[in-house]
């Protein structure tokens, strides 16, 4: 918390007529005491409205807004409404810390991180320094919820290392010997590959080729042909999704139609991009979904979002579900804590267990503890889906993860 | 007898088929004004550029104060004591008269990389040298340039030419090239240049005065070299020159004037 000295600086600062930008933590703490219970509880959301992560970040953001609206409609938390602050870092991790501290300055008691994974990783230290909990609703970079500096950083979805485990198992079952990987050059994907690929290689799969393309690439024929020359058993596309992944898939479909293709969560969870693919270009593609047909909560959420978002809402994806669940967890924690004090909220989150999310299969749960900041209990938050007719058709026959 | 400040031997320069300068020899001595005259396109400016080092001659040699200078880049020419003005004044119009003139004074100290770095450090250290300003003021006054903290945009063509003379004088040259100093100047400009030349001679250096206006040149020069079609067709005292048959033939029927700037 701030020293009175700092508080005085702030009033000066305000006098300098720039305070519109920053009501400092000291200021807001003072206000919080002064005000009665009706004052809103502030939650910050770091998102990406312009960068490579915007394709999924905005899906999540929509669901978060709906969830907040719903909570407030039902009388809010502790009888107080939730106020949502939003900042976009354009998927640039070096901007994330400043924006996170800005939201904290403006009174945010919890931060939802749903820009790129790299932004979440970059924000860990800031959250720790200012002792405000942050929840990565969709980011899957394992480092977010793992030491060091993870005291105030939590993550909701299965980490990338789980995806690695599943694909490793799947490839073994298929008898895959050689793998080729094509990625975009975003820092998020760089971090993810660093955690994902070793897991797969550990399972005895040799990576015969790895190609990168810049996010604004106009053509990836050269890269794909370089993969083709190594003629691998399978190709893994690891990207943020969006137009570039479609370009990858189109070109792979043209050049390596016979080779089985796998992807991360991205493309399967971005219905808007399916239409951009050439006819049948996505067919056979296997990706990691997190929404199972047997989860009743998924069905309820689908109805809610369809009602609230209208035509903007194409199909329920992990991104919406996890955004929605993140808000529920925050609500739960604040109610447990009984006040909107960041440190107490953080402790409250650490005591949430057996939470039933609206993603993953029916019996899938999320639990946190002081030593477990990655919420998922087991692998069945993840479902491998396969495309047909440029749409996710059915769970993949060859392999599915079981909950342990 | 002292060696000439400038000694050109059989200098030639061709542009494609055009022989702009054709085996010309020239000498200039200290305290002497050599008039270089000829109609437009006679090769005056090209010859000046060869001497000034803006261009290299195809053949022939140039010596300044005994040191070879042939085809030297204009910097070296300058370091060997040649300073010049330009037919189309080369002045930074967006700056003040004083600033443009100071260049002539400080440039010598920035002739080498080491010198540049020294000046760089001095500049950052904020070392100010009032001596510079005084020197500029003195020369400006001598040339009759007033209010030298004006922007050069406010100057007349004549004043710009005076500024160039001033800048050249501040280089303390042994030889000064005045390239068409009267072109486009009004009466004031002309008289300004006249007194400027007197000022230059005080410093004991030689002058090459290039102009197509024979009468003005004749009234100022000790000696006149007449160029035509790139070749030197006459070299002698102004009176002889004006009387010479070459002069008649060269200027016979040719326009004697105004278009000076068009060369």
């Amino acid at each position: 918390m701030k020293t009175p000295n700092a508080a005085r600086r702030h009033s000066l600062w305000k006098a300098a007529a720039v305070a519109a930008l920053v009501a400092g933590a000291a200021l807001s703490a003072a206000l919080a005491q002064a005000q009665q219970a009706k004052a809103p509880i502030v939650i910050g959301m770091l998102e990406d409205t312009s960068g490579g992560a915007s394709f999924y970040s905005q899906l999540t953001a929509n669901a978060v807004r709906v969830a907040v609206e719903e909570v407030n409609a039902k009388g809010g938390v502790l009888g107080r409404p939730i106020k949502l602050l939003e900042e976009s870092d354009g998927n640039n991790p070096s901007q994330a810390p400043a924006l996170v501290s800005r939201m904290i300055q403006n009174g945010a008691k919890v931060i939802l991180l749903n820009s790129g994974s790299a932004s979440a990783v970059a924000s860990k230290k800031t959250l720790l320094d200012q002792k405000v909990p942050g929840i990565a609703s969709t980011n899957i970079d394992t480092r977010i919820g793992s030491p060091p500096d993870n005291d105030y950083a939590f993550m909701l979805p299965n980490p990338i290392t789980d995806i690695g485990t599943i694909y490793a198992a799947a490839f073994q079952k298929m008898g895959v010997k050689t793998l080729a990987v094509i990625s975009d050059d975003s820092p998020t994907i760089a971090g993810i590959n660093g955690l994902l690929l070793p897991k797969i290689q550990a399972a005895g799969v040799t990576m015969v080729a790895q190609e990168k393309a810049p996010l604004d690439a106009n053509d990836v024929t050269a890269q794909v042909l370089r993969l083709k020359e190594k003629n691998p058993d399978v190709v893994l596309v690891s990207s943020l999704g969006g137009q570039l992944e479609v370009l990858f898939e189109n070109t792979l479909y043209q050049q390596m139609r016979k080779t089985p293709r796998f992807s991360l969560a991205s493309i399967g969870n971005q219905p808007a991009t399916w239409a951009l693919a050439q006819a049948n270009a996505l067919d056979g593609l296997v990706y990691v979904a997190s929404v199972a047909t047997n989860n009743p909560r998924s069905a309820t959420l689908t109805k809610l979002l369809a009602a609230k978002l209208g035509s903007k809402f194409k199909a329920l994806t992990a991104y919406e579900a996890q955004g929605y669940d993140a808000v529920q967890i925050v609500k739960l924690a604040i109610e447990k804590a009984g006040v909107d004090d960041p440190i107490l909220i953080k402790t409250a989150i650490e005591h949430i267990s057996g939470f039933k999310p609206s993603f993953g299969s029916a019996n899938f749960t999320i639990s946190f503890s002081p030593t477990k900041h990655i919420g998922t209990d087991g692998l069945c938050g993840l479902v491998l889906m396969q495309f047909k007719g440029n749409k996710p058709e059915a769970p993949w026959k060859t392999y599915q993860a079981k909950c342990d | 007898m002292t060696p000439p400040i400038l000694d050109c031997r059989d200098v030639s320069k061709a542009f494609g088929a055009v022989r702009a300068v054709d085996t010309v020899s020239l000498t200039v001595y200290a305290g002497e004004v050599l008039g270089l005259v000829g109609p437009n396109g006679a090769g005056k400016t090209t010859l000046v550029d060869l001497i000034g080092g803006e261009q290299r001659p195809d053949t022939g040699t140039i010596h300044a104060a005994g040191r070879p200078l042939t085809g030297a880049p204009s910097r070296r020419a300058r370091l060997n004591g040649l300073a010049r003005t330009f037919q189309h004044p080369q002045v930074a119009l967006d700056m003040t008269v004083r600033e443009n003139m100071i260049v002539g004074l400080v440039a010598r100290s920035m002739g080498s990389l080491g010198g540049m770095l020294r000046q760089l450090v001095r500049g950052m250290a904020g070392a100010s040298d009032p001596g510079l300003d005084l020197e500029v003021d003195r020369v400006a006054a001598a040339l009759g340039l007033e209010a030298i903290d004006r922007s050069c945009m406010e100057l007349t063509l004549g004043e710009l030419r005076l500024l160039e003379v001033g800048r050249a004088l501040l280089m303390k040259p042994a030889l000064m090239l005045l390239d068409e100093p009267f072109a486009g100047s009004d009466a004031r400009g002309v008289s300004g240049i006249r007194s400027a030349i007197a000022e230059i001679l005080k410093s004991g250096c030689g002058v090459i005065l290039v102009d197509h206006n024979v009468d003005i040149v004749a009234s100022l020069a000790h000696r006149i070299a007449l160029l035509n079609l790139g070749a030197k067709v006459f070299d002698g005292s102004p009176r002889e020159c004006l009387a010479s048959t070459e002069m008649q033939s060269v200027y016979f029927g040719s326009d004697d004037g105004q278009a000076g700037g068009a060369e």
Partner: protein, 326 residues
């Protein structure tokens, strides 16, 4: 008022502003971050001031020089046990060397051709940052730099930000002096009258290499401070788009003084980062303001402030600095 005393006034006035800025931001993590961003922009913009605004050569590879400073700091912090202060001269010299080589490769070019090639170099550099993983950590960058330490004690960010702000002030002051000095005068003259400067004995090509090297060093200094305060570097931070923001800062702020570049940086950050009203439209607003200034008010904001100040003192443009560039 003599030039010397006005110089003293300039120094003290600007220092006062810098100190005030430090006082306002320190202790507030967000404002410190904003101040750091402003300072970083200011460093690039100041780096461009000498070769571009004064010298008239639009060399645009400044994202590379910034990056060299930053990665020098990151590598020293993560791969050596040296005092981090060493990273500053290393980065600066590296940047200067690159600037000189690029300057030599492009010495025949000017105007559009120079701009195009230097832009390409900037792009190639950021590609290289992502490509050379062994050295630069690729697109994941270099994380968790150790904090600099003063006799055993780690130096906090507030202090580092304060140092950064003071560094900006110092560079601004040095450049402001340089501008009015003989060196500055020759640099500004060769922009319009290169032939005259050449024939006065200065090798213009060498002179422009010197200015490019100095500019690169300034930008690199900014990069080093940026890296050490963020405790991390990422290739994203050094994309060529940065240069489009920074090259216009002196035009908006005013070209007559380096302070204009800093003023421009403050304005840009205020528009794009702080004023919530401008959030989405900040850069648009800035670019339109720049166009307006270019077309209608070439002196830029500071230029007109200084002009007014002189009118106030009843001074006619005695100080060359007061004159508009064109």
């Amino acid at each position: 008022m003599t030039r010397r005393s006005s110089g003293l006034l300039e120094a003290t006035l600007t220092l006062a502003i810098a100190v005030a800025a430090i006082f306002l931001v320190s202790g507030n993590p967000y404002l410190e971050a904003v101040a750091l961003l402003t300072a970083t922009y200011a460093f690039i913009s100041l780096g461009m001031y000498l070769p571009f605004i004064m010298g008239g050569a639009l060399s645009m590879a400044y994202n590379a020089y910034l990056g060299l400073g930053a990665y020098a700091m990151a590598l020293v912090a993560t791969r050596t046990t040296w005092d981090l202060a060493w990273a500053v001269p290393i980065g600066a010299l590296l940047a200067a060397a690159v600037a000189v080589v690029l300057g030599m490769a492009t010495r025949r070019l000017s105007g559009f051709y120079l701009a195009a090639v230097t832009l390409l170099f900037g792009i190639a550099f950021s590609t290289w940052l992502v490509d050379a993983e062994a050295l630069t950590g690729g697109s994941a960058g270099i994380q968790s730099l150790r904090a600099p330490s003063l006799d055993g004690q780690p130096v906090g960010n507030s202090v580092l930000v304060a140092i950064t702000i003071l560094a900006v002030w110092l560079v601004g002051l040095l450049l402001s002096r340089l501008r009015a000095s003989p060196f500055g005068i020759v640099v500004r003259t060769q922009r319009r009258a290169a032939i005259a400067v050449e024939s006065a004995g200065v090798r213009v090509s060498t002179l422009s290499l010197v200015t490019l090297a100095v500019g690169a060093m300034v930008a690199a200094l900014g990069g080093s401070m940026f890296a050490v305060v963020n405790h991390a570097v990422l290739p994203e931070s050094f994309v060529v788009e940065l240069v489009f923001l920074t090259m216009f800062m002196p035009l908006l702020g005013g070209q007559d003084r380096p302070w204009g570049a800093i003023l421009g940086a403050v304005l840009v950050v205020t528009f794009t980062f702080q004023l919530t009203f401008f959030k989405s439209t900040g850069s648009l607003f800035f670019s339109l303001a720049v166009l307006l200034v270019l077309v209608a008010a070439p002196r830029g904001i500071l230029g007109y402030l200084l002009l007014g100040w002189n009118r106030l003192l009843g001074r006619t443009g005695g100080d060359s600095g007061m004159r508009g560039p064109r």
